[in-house]
């Protein structure tokens, strides 16, 4: 136990001796946490639309007015030809082209039926789908207006109509920041922990100090604990700073028990640091360790469910996410912060993370060889 004390003392001294690293660990995540959530807005509010109006009629004009007045679309061009509009799409200046044929009004009035053509840039499938469905809703509304004008509807509508009401729980104002801030905090915490731990032991290998340690009677788990504890404390500090930023800048106060959040984060950090230390013990150079850490981090982050939904992935990919500690934490942080979930709700995730923590750290102790 005493030996651990000296190890910890040494690690802390080394950490605090390098202010450039300290600054980076604390300031970089905080700045990113302040700035980046502003960027995360999927909301399809500003769909850029180009309209090709071959009709130039009263109806086509009033329809265009209805679209632009909806607030969901930004009219980026009224073109005379499809080709001109396509050019806007090519330059990413338009997401949707709405083409109104020449006999639009005539067909509508005379034939009681007419047609428009929507061409949607579908490189981003979700955006395409949403944009198209918004536009369809507006067209349907406009269609309804037209009908009301021409047809005297009977008092008792024979058309069967379902009323759909929708409610958004936990985030009624659909505030994207509520959703992104905790998620980004998790990612930043994971990066700080994993990268620092991954670099640490291998650095001692590269500069040779590990030789001197290996020839002492120090226990392997002491050595690993000596690395784990300081980083754990720094991670918890970054977490607290992050929660403070979330509160001050975004007004996010966890609905659930904050102690529960810290409990989970504490276990999670042990798992992530264990992973970092494992990477460090199996690497020979810092460059190797970094690449390996980056490789895993990128997979973990992209497959975490923060940016894209895990349910939408093919089954094999969902299986991959079972081995991704980040995905469990993203889920839990949302549950506790936004839904006020309790210990019972998160116990499964907590159990999994504990298994990660035990396995990864034991593996790190095991693969740290005092002699080769």
């Amino acid at each position: 136990m005493n030996i651990l004390r000296y190890l910890l003392e040494k690690e802390f001294r080394q950490i605090f001796r390098d202010p450039s690293i300290l600054r980076m660990i604390f300031i970089m995540p905080i700045i990113q946490l302040i700035i980046l959530p502003q960027a995360a807005n999927y909301e399809v509010k500003n769909v850029k639309i180009a309209i090709v109006d071959h009709d130039h009629s009263t109806y086509s004009t009033s329809m265009i007015y209805k679209i632009t007045a909806s607030g969901y679309f930004i009219l980026t061009g009224i073109n005379d030809s499809h080709l001109d509009a396509m050019e806007l799409v090519e330059r990413d200046h338009a997401d949707i082209i709405l083409e109104i044929p020449a006999h639009f009004e005539k067909d509508l009035v005379k034939e009681s039926e007419t047609e428009v053509l929507m061409s949607v840039n579908a490189i981003n499938g979700m955006r395409a789908n949403l944009g198209a469905s918004y536009l369809s809703v507006i067209l349907r509304d406009y269609n309804q207006d037209v009908r009301l004008k021409w047809v005297q509807l009977p008092r008792f509508d024979e058309v069967k109509r379902l009323n759909i009401t929708s409610t958004n729980w936990y985030n009624p104002h659909m505030n994207y920041k509520l959703f992104m801030v905790p998620g980004i905090l998790v990612i930043l915490l994971t990066m700080v922990g994993a990268f620092l731990a991954a670099l640490n032991i291998v650095k001692e290998k590269e500069i040779g100090t590990i030789e001197q340690i290996n020839v002492t009677p120090i226990k392997k788990y002491h050595f690993i604990l000596g690395k784990l504890i300081p980083f754990w404390m720094m991670g918890m500090f970054v977490l607290s700073l992050g929660l403070l930023v979330a509160r001050v800048f975004y007004g996010i106060v966890p609905l659930g028990n904050i102690g529960l959040l810290y409990l989970f984060s504490g276990c999670y950090l042990i798992a992530v640091l264990g992973l970092g230390l494992l990477i460090s013990t199996i690497s020979q150079t810092q460059q190797q360790a970094m690449l390996l850490a980056f490789f895993l981090m990128m997979i973990f982050i992209m497959m975490s469910g923060l940016y894209t939904s895990i349910d939408s992935m093919p089954y094999w990919a969902q299986v991959v996410t079972w081995f991704n500690p980040v995905s469990y934490f993203i889920e839990v942080v949302r549950m506790i912060v936004l839904k006020g979930s309790t210990f019972r709700d998160i116990q499964f995730n907590l159990g999994i993370i504990l298994i990660f923590a035990i396995v990864l750290n034991s593996w790190a102790v095991f693969s740290y060889k005092k002699r080769n």
Partner: protein
């Protein structure tokens, strides 16, 4: 020139002698493009939902079956009362719930109307919106079927055509994005660490007393990584075409040339980072911690740039990946030529020149 080649060869040996690093360098883009290309999609599919259906009649059952049969939803639970709802949401078991009224069928046939309530878990607002939309349109379709034999007058039909990606595959968006992330981060990370490592081990001084100019030494360190990136670019493109069925609509040479330009931009950024730091740890923290999230979030492939507040839109212009992402989409998927992307290419080029000039200045100051 001969000296220079000797140097390049030395760097090349350094890299080749470390098979672990080499393995990750070549393996990473392949594994990531494969996983992300197949797995990531912005679409929301198979969302788990719960149903509360007290009426359990013909109408409600057919509607529920239709919802369950769609690729978007998977009915996970049938509730008996709204009491359980809270619990299911809190455990994260469901993303949405659909609540039917009592006597659903009866109310449709007699009063021609009925109320359906959708409750979405908006802790993820994006998914909530999309799911509510999907559910509403399924319900509306079903309602239209009820009225099938009645033709509405004065109808405007909208024909929808999906351009470039009619099957709405996630890979069309994610491959260009992941490509820009991997090329950017690997190149920046590797160069900055490789140069700073020499500094840390005291090798830089040895090199600098040699008659070579600092710029020669630095270039020699980056050229092997440029070649490695070329291999990566080609393997990514091969995978995209043969495994992910992505088209290369435009000129493949243009695509490779601009990818190399982008790699050089990233290498220059790596050189700049190496010129302002003295330890590998700091260099890598800047290259990864500093660049990872901003590249991911501000390049436009995750979040639409026009939705961002103005200051962030301006900042996003400084992210090289933003321009490269645009270029890849334009050349690869839209099949455009240089005349449509010369502006973006020029921006990348000037970024590169700018970064190189600053780093050379920084090195000169330090050495004199």
């Amino acid at each position: 020139m001969k000296q220079f080649l000797v140097f390049v060869r030395k760097e090349w040996y350094h890299i080749l002698r470390d098979p672990k690093t080499l393995f990750i360098l070549f393996g990473m883009p392949i594994v990531q493009i494969t996983i992300f290309g197949f797995a990531l999609t912005n679409e929301v599919k198979n969302a788990k939902i719960a149903i509360l259906d007290p009426s359990k009649d013909f109408a409600s059952t057919t509607l529920i079956n239709r919802i369950d049969a769609s690729k978007y939803f998977e009915v996970n639970d049938y509730l008996v009362s709204t009491k359980d709802l809270e619990k299911y949401f809190k455990e994260g078991k469901i993303k949405m719930a659909i609540i039917f009224p009592q006597h659903f069928n009866q109310s449709i046939s007699h009063t021609n109307t009925a109320q359906i309530q959708i409750i979405a878990d908006a802790s993820d607002p994006n998914t909530a919106t999309v799911l509510t939309n999907y559910a509403s349109s399924i319900i509306q379709d079903w309602q239209n079927d009820l009225n099938k034999n009645r033709k509405l007058p004065y109808s405007i039909h909208a024909e929808v055509r999906m351009l470039y990606n009619p099957e709405l595959k996630g890979a069309f968006n994610f491959v260009p994005g992941v490509m820009s992330m991997v090329l950017m981060l690997v190149s920046t990370l590797m160069t900055s660490i490789a140069i700073v490592r020499e500094k840390e081990l005291g090798m830089m001084e040895v090199l600098l007393v040699s008659p070579l100019k600092p710029i020669t030494i630095i270039l020699a360190k980056t050229i092997p990584y440029l070649l490695l990136s070329l291999v990566n670019i080609i393997s990514i493109l091969l995978l995209s075409v043969f495994a992910l069925d992505l088209p290369i609509q435009g000129s493949i040479f243009l695509l490779i040339a601009l990818s190399l330009l982008f790699t050089i931009t990233s290498l220059s950024l790596g050189i700049l980072i190496s010129s302002i730091t003295n330890s590998q740890q700091v260099a890598m923290l800047i290259s990864l911690m500093g660049l990872f999230l901003p590249t991911l979030m501000l390049s436009g492939f995750m979040f639409p740039i026009e939705n961002m507040p103005l200051p962030l839109q301006l900042i996003s212009n400084l992210v090289p990946a933003k321009w490269y992402y645009f270029i890849v989409k334009a050349v690869m998927i839209k099949g455009l030529g240089i005349q449509s992307i010369w502006k973006e290419s020029c921006i990348l080029l000037s970024m590169t020149i700018f970064l190189l000039i600053i780093s050379i200045k920084k090195y000169k100051v330090r050495l004199s």
